[in-house]
């Protein structure tokens, strides 16, 4: 496959592979093979520009940007790239001004709006970034990736409940994606909401095959719930005292929990042996299951 085709594939998959992109583009740039008659020339220039920024090659990025600006002198898209190169070169105020220019000329420019938020985040102003993101989501509530980004910001501040809310929005929009149920399960586990965590981990394995993380989750959550019910019962607490058993409002009966734990164990063992598990981790699983 030609370099151009490979670069196109990488653009399609939207994977971030800066090193590979630069390696592929190097001969094209050196031999002047990207002319204005090449079909994707400008997309490639933009792609290599972004890769150069990721790899810290600011000078290369600047030279590519110059080429783009010459071809598209009035472009807002190129202007945003100037914002990016300023961010990379450590001139955030310049970037801020550029993005402000873009958004005041066009308040619906989503990429520039997001850049404003990313800039705040890069400067460590997480609370401000979150505020801007919330404002953005007011208008663009169907942008599930933005909800994910917001949950990330909340988690950085250990605001689990708020992060969980964001995941709920994501799941509403992407209910069949097990990855989001997994994240939601782990947030709930982390804040002691064991009943939801268990349900969500079960959903994860329902929506995917051989999901080792899901099985581990089911096992630790089921075992934890059993343990908490037992110690709660020992302490004489009952379901009529919600705060004593918080996070345990909607759990299955103990026999069912035990069966779930057993099933998770069996599935873990099966998944490890079916998928060529490495020796040390396989032994670690064996020992862990025995404890």
């Amino acid at each position: 496959m030609s370099s151009l085709a490979l670069l196109a594939e990488i653009r399609q998959s939207s994977e971030r592979l800066p090193y590979e992109v630069l390696k592929l583009a190097e001969p094209l740039l050196n031999n002047n093979q990207l002319t204005s008659s090449t079909e994707d020339a400008w997309l490639v220039y933009e792609q290599v520009f972004l890769a150069a920024l990721d790899e810290g090659q600011i000078d290369l990025a600047k030279s590519l940007l110059h080429i783009l600006r010459t071809r598209f002198p009035a472009s807002q898209r190129v202007k945003r790239l100037y914002g990016l190169v300023n961010e990379a070169a450590g001139h955030p105020d310049e970037s801020q001004n550029l993005y402000a220019e873009i958004t005041s000329a066009d308040p619906t420019n989503v990429l520039a709006l997001k850049r404003v938020i990313a800039l705040l985040k890069a400067q460590g102003k997480l609370a401000l970034a979150a505020n801007e993101l919330v404002a953005y989501l007011d208008t663009h509530g169907n942008d599930f990736e933005a909800w994910l980004e917001l949950s990330h910001l909340y988690l950085a501040h250990h605001m689990y409940r708020q992060a969980a809310f964001c995941l709920e929005e994501v799941i509403l929009q992407q209910p069949a994606n097990h990855y989001f149920h997994l994240c939601y399960a782990e947030i709930n586990y982390s804040m002691g909401q064991w009943d939801i965590a268990l349900k969500e981990y079960l959903r994860v394995v329902e929506l995917s095959t051989d999901n080792v993380r899901g099985f581990y989750g089911i096992k630790v959550t089921a075992d934890r719930i059993i343990e908490m019910l037992a110690s709660g019962a020992r302490a004489g607490k009952s379901r009529r005292e919600p705060q004593a058993l918080s996070g345990l409002e909607n759990v299955p009966q103990v026999p069912v929990l035990e069966k779930l734990s057993l099933l998770a164990t069996e599935r873990l063992v099966a998944a490890y042996s079916a998928n060529n598990a490495a020796a040390a981790p396989a032994k670690a699983l064996e020992d862990w299951l025995k404890q």
Partner: protein, 203 residues
């Protein structure tokens, strides 16, 4: 006062883990040999590069590492973390809690924050790790660490710094796999990373 000696392998693996995911917070554990109150940190076990504030898989991994360490006559000697923001060289709230959970296993365990800027600045003679020791109900930074050949925190030898640098230059981080990776592909050996260990030995 406990003393900690940091080997090439332990240091290199922590640095490589953070180099593999420069956009993310990563964390892991240091394993070491214990001799009274002296710890020789011989290895690093990388744990996660996503959702590093969340607990369930950390709990599983910690239990498995504990058993693994025991089987090799090692102890969990420390917790390391590299934050996605290179300006953050203090333990976050969750970092402090994770590090504290290790104290329950080893009351003399130390915490380390990777200082990416120091690595980039090539500050001579000192590793890009800021140690924290638990005292008086909190983690206290030890800023003068690794500066004194007889101090509480020392490098096993200066080769450790050169080794780490060589490995980062050659992008050896593509060969390190953490527990997160293992959960996606159980054929990856997150506990040992043997191939990488070989590369570290010969660097």
């Amino acid at each position: 006062m406990s003393e900690y000696t940091l080997s090439s392998q332990a240091y290199a693996k922590a640095i490589l883990h953070s180099a593999k995911y420069p956009w993310a917070t990563v964390h892991g554990l240091f394993l070491g040999e214990k001799n009274g109150s002296k710890f020789r940190l011989t290895d690093a076990v990388p744990l996660a590069h996503s959702w590093t504030q969340l607990t369930p898989m950390f709990d599983v991994a910690l239990q498995q590492v504990q058993q693994y360490a025991g089987s090799k006559n090692l102890v969990i000697a420390g917790y390391y973390v590299a934050y996605e923001n290179p300006d953050t060289i203090q333990l976050s709230a969750s970092g402090a809690l994770f590090a504290k959970s290790i104290l329950a296993i080893n009351p003399e365990a130390a915490a380390f924050v990777v200082d990416a800027k120091r690595f980039k600045a090539r500050e001579d003679g000192r590793p890009a790790l800021v140690p924290f020791v638990y005292a008086g109900e909190q983690w206290k930074e030890q800023p003068k660490a690794f500066g004194d050949a007889k101090g509480q925190f020392v490098l096993e030898n200066n080769q450790a710094l050169t080794t780490a640098r060589i490995l980062v230059e050659e992008r050896a981080e593509i060969g390190i796999f953490d527990f997160d990776d293992h959960l996606d592909d159980v054929s990856l050996d997150w506990l040992q990373n043997n191939l990488l260990n070989e590369r570290i030995r010969t660097a």
